[in-house]
């Protein structure tokens, strides 16, 4: 399938789409979804994969009786097959004001990842839900369209709706993730795309996701200006979301100390994730998206 609409050009290149089609989402746990799909699940039902036998009880479907076994043992046994269920994929997309920074904005980068992950999931007949936060009224219509998207045929509209999202406003990260976890009850694969630069921390929110039994992937996206600031002097840095001000005198001679601080901040998130079996990836918003998707995310266990 080829997608050549205009917005696709900006979100994901057709070439990348082709390569993404070859990928398959990895899920360490079996799907617990109730909807049918193409993922192996613990449930038993109709499929080609034999699972077990059980005694026949009246009312069972006669088509499932193993007549060969009846011939040998003269007892009725029912053949059970593994039920293939869908894998719910929930993408938590940070659309706060802080994501609008960077030469290639962090939000654009995050949206590209969301599009790629979503597309891979749709190709795998999985259910894809994108939860952008904060939820702005003007974007509610698109957000509704991004809920429970299924099938490759929906990918075009999926991209279209993703493209309509705009970053802005401030958010309580933990609250947003907790509400998301309550709303999307089926545990599945969860991808959190954010810069994780929240004053209230991120621990509670991530915990609420892991507690649901979901397989969580965290992608921390930082802009090049955040990793290596190029503005020096006597500064009054203003928080884009809260408007809080902080006076700082910054020069090249303090760059290394700053970078050490950033590294320490990221390391703390990584350690938090590792301790809870969460996959962690750090991305710079201006890095080539192909490299990140096909190399970093593959090694990070997102897909194969």
């Amino acid at each position: 399938m080829s997608l050549d609409s205009e917005f696709m050009e900006t979100l994901i290149s057709p070439d990348l789409i082709k390569r993404l089609e070859q990928l398959q989402l990895l899920a360490r746990r079996r799907s617990k979804s109730t909807a049918k799909g193409e993922r192996r699940s613990r449930s038993q039902g109709q499929s080609v994969e034999f699972a077990d036998y059980r005694n026949y009880v009246p009312g069972d479907d006669l088509r499932s009786i193993d007549w060969n076994l009846f011939g040998r043992l003269d007892r009725l046994f029912l053949k059970l097959y593994e039920e293939e269920r869908e894998l719910p994929l929930t993408i938590y997309l940070d659309a706060s004001e802080s994501m609008s920074f960077g030469r290639v904005t962090k939000f654009d980068f995050a949206r590209q990842i969301a599009a790629a992950v979503g597309y891979v999931a749709l190709c795998g007949f999985d259910r894809v839900t994108v939860e952008p936060f904060p939820l702005v009224d003007s974007q509610k219509i698109f957000v509704g369209e991004l809920h429970s998207v299924r099938g490759r045929h929906s990918s075009m509209r999926f991209f279209d709706n993703l493209n309509q999202l705009k970053p802005g406003g401030s958010v309580d990260f933990n609250q947003a993730l907790r509400l998301g976890a309550i709303k999307n009850r089926d545990p599945g694969v969860v991808v959190v795309l954010s810069d994780f630069l929240n004053l209230d921390g991120y621990e509670t929110g991530l915990k609420s996701l892991t507690n649901r039994g979901s397989e969580v992937h965290v992608v921390q996206i930082l802009s090049e200006e955040e990793l290596e600031p190029s503005t020096y002097g006597d500064l009054k840095v203003v928080d884009s979301e809260t408007g809080a001000e902080q006076e700082v005198t910054f020069g090249k001679y303090r760059l290394k100390t700053y970078q050490a601080t950033v590294h320490k901040y990221c390391l703390r998130l990584r350690e938090f994730c590792q301790a809870r079996g969460v996959h962690y990836q750090l991305a710079q918003s201006n890095m080539p998206i192909d490299d990140f998707l096909l190399k970093a995310m593959r090694t990070g266990g997102m897909w194969r």
Partner: protein, 606 residues
């Protein structure tokens, strides 16, 4: 170690100010970032937000504090008490005469000289002393010996050039006196060397350096200007002028004569090199006024291109002679040109409206007020008579006194004289062995000449000295007012009232308030500008003119060599030695370092 200026320690308050500046919020550039969370962590880690942590390891601040401390330390002028060699004693004689106004150099010679002296002040060492002497018509010590450059510069700055002739001799003599018994004396003369009085000085061992100013150039100027009544035509006044050309080329000039700003004559005059030309203008002006002569040319000295002279008609002296008959005295008085004589036998009015009262052997009931010549009489209030003295021999007379000018008593015999004791305010000018014969004095602004014998009882009326004495005495009792003066020459006038206020308007419009002296004499010495001065006292006003009119001053060719006395010669110094202090350069370097430091600091943070 001691401090010359411990008050400067007050500048130490600037030290905490520097620290406060560091602590104070600087003007910061607002910079929008996605989140301040990393910046907060960063600041927490660097511990920069606690007040004194900011100063930790801040070498820039430490360097600034060291700089400032050193500057304050320098300002309080620390010193160690020790014996050091005394410095130079520099006497600077600055010529402020009219010829220094010559514009043959940039601006003029005087400004050039000031610049040179300024450089010399800059080059002084701390232990050097300098005296500033101004030499014009008068010599003035403008600044007594000091090492403080600021005081010297201030004194120099206030010096103004005058229109008076040069009298360098007095200044050089003064510098010799000032520098006597001092080691390392240097006398620097900043002049063009135009001075006519140096022949009378022997150089001896005076370390005189002559700094020649100017080169010379074309100059044509008025060297004499006079008004006289025309003897041929009554009522007419003639203005005589001499114009001198002091250059080596023939020069011409337009000569205009004004009477109270109204032009009454204009001529074109050409004068051959180093020659003079005389001019006579006739005027029908009968009123008192000022004749002003102007030369219009483009020579290098403007001050001698203008001259003014009062065209006053002299008022005669009114003399009242009280006598019972003295033909010699009466004849002597009548022989004086400008005397209107009234002869009476007795004094009826104690306040006669005359200039001089002559009492001849008459004792008035009330002594007359005003100027009195008392012959063979005495006031009981002033003199204490104790009889007569027979044939007193004249033993001494003060020929230097103006009354005794050209008067000789060698062949004068006196038959008898009064034996009186003089009041304290009178001084004898002719004396016998025991008593005064003639005395003069001034009491309550009135002058008195006292002759203690009857001339008829002596051989004096037969001698030529008698009429001369009478003429001198009248002249002294009612002196003529000189209204045409040379620049620098004081104006004096006798007034009736003592201590009365006089307002003098100088030629440049400046108004000087002064008053008459205790004896009623008004003396005004600030006559260094040429032009017309107006002195107002009460409802009366008198004008007088001050002129340069000095041929030697108009000869502006500056001298290469000063000839002092018979053998002394001082050649002009070409180069002025000046030791330049270097502390300014160090201070500038220090300042530049500070600026660089700031720039570097901001470059690092910018």
């Amino acid at each position: 170690m001691n401090f010359l200026n411990p008050e400067a320690l007050a500048f130490a308050v600037t030290l905490p100010i520097v620290i406060i500046f560091y602590l104070l919020k600087r003007r910061r550039v607002a910079h929008l970032v996605s989140s301040t969370i990393i910046w907060k962590s960063f600041l927490n880690e660097t511990q920069a937000n606690s007040p004194f942590q900011k100063l930790r390891h801040n070498w820039l601040l430490i360097i600034q504090l060291i700089f400032l401390s050193l500057a304050i330390f320098a300002l309080i002028r620390p010193y160690f008490s020790s014996k050091i060699e005394s410095g130079r004693f520099v006497v600077v004689i600055l010529d402020v005469s009219a010829s220094m106004q010559a514009t043959d150099v940039s601006l003029n010679r005087f400004e050039l000289a000031k610049g040179e002296v300024n450089k010399m002040i800059d080059g002084m060492y701390d232990n050097d002393q300098m005296v500033l002497i101004l030499s014009g018509g008068n010599t003035e010590v403008r600044q007594s010996p000091t090492s403080v450059k600021a005081i010297l510069k201030k004194a120099l700055d206030q010096v103004k050039v005058t229109d008076s002739p040069t009298r360098l001799l007095e200044a050089i003599k003064l510098s010799q006196n000032l520098s006597r018994n001092r080691p390392k004396v240097e006398v620097h003369l900043f002049s063009d060397g135009v001075s006519s009085d140096l022949d009378a000085f022997e150089l001896q061992d005076l370390n005189l350096e002559y700094h020649r100013l100017g080169k010379g150039g074309g100059n044509i100027g008025i060297t004499s200007l006079e008004v006289r009544s025309n003897p041929e035509q009554l009522g007419q006044q003639s203005v005589f002028a001499t114009i001198g050309n002091f250059s080596t080329n023939t020069m011409s000039s337009e000569v205009s004569l004004f009477f109270d700003d109204q032009m009454i004559g204009n001529r074109r005059l050409t004068v051959r090199p180093t020659n003079t030309a005389s001019l006579v203008f006739s005027s029908n002006q009968r009123t008192n006024g000022v004749f002003r002569m102007k030369l219009k040319n483009d020579d290098f000295l403007q001050v001698d291109n203008i001259g003014s002279v009062m065209g006053l008609t002299r008022r005669n002296v009114e003399v009242l002679l009280i006598t019972k008959g003295n033909v010699f005295l009466e004849k002597a008085l009548r022989s004086i040109d400008d005397v209107d004589l009234i002869v009476k036998s007795s004094l009826t009015d104690s306040t006669p409206n005359v200039d001089v009262v002559v009492l001849d052997s008459i004792r008035p009931t009330v002594w007359p007020s005003g100027n009195v010549m008392a012959i063979n009489t005495q006031s009981t209030n002033w003199f204490q008579p104790s009889g007569l003295l027979e044939s007193p021999p004249i033993v001494d007379w003060k020929s230097a006194h103006p009354i005794l000018r050209f008067v000789n008593f060698d062949n004068v015999q006196v038959a008898q004289s009064l034996n009186s004791k003089l009041p304290t305010w009178m001084n004898p000018i002719v004396e016998t062995q025991s008593v005064p014969l003639i005395a003069v004095g001034e009491n309550d602004a009135n002058r008195c000449v006292w002759v203690g014998f009857n001339p008829l009882d002596s051989t004096w009326p037969l001698r030529v000295s008698f009429p001369i004495f009478i003429a001198n005495a009248i002249d002294w009792l009612d002196p003529k007012i000189v209204t045409n003066l040379s620049a620098g020459e004081p104006f004096s006038m006798r007034m009736a009232e003592k201590g009365s206020a006089v307002i003098v308007t100088l030629p440049d419009g400046e108004i000087v308030e002064t008053s008459t002296m205790g004896n009623g004499e008004f003396v005004f010495a600030d006559t260094f500008q040429q032009g017309v001065y107006h002195a107002k006292y009460g409802t009366n006003e008198i004008s007088f003119c001050v002129n340069l009119l000095d041929a030697s001053e108009s000869a502006i060719e500056s001298r290469d060599v000063l000839k002092l006395g018979k053998y002394g010669r001082v050649e002009a110094t070409l180069q002025l030695d000046a030791d330049k202090e270097l502390w300014r350069w160090f201070a500038i370097t220090c300042l530049l370092l500070l600026v660089f430091e700031w720039w570097f600091y901001h470059r690092r943070t910018a």
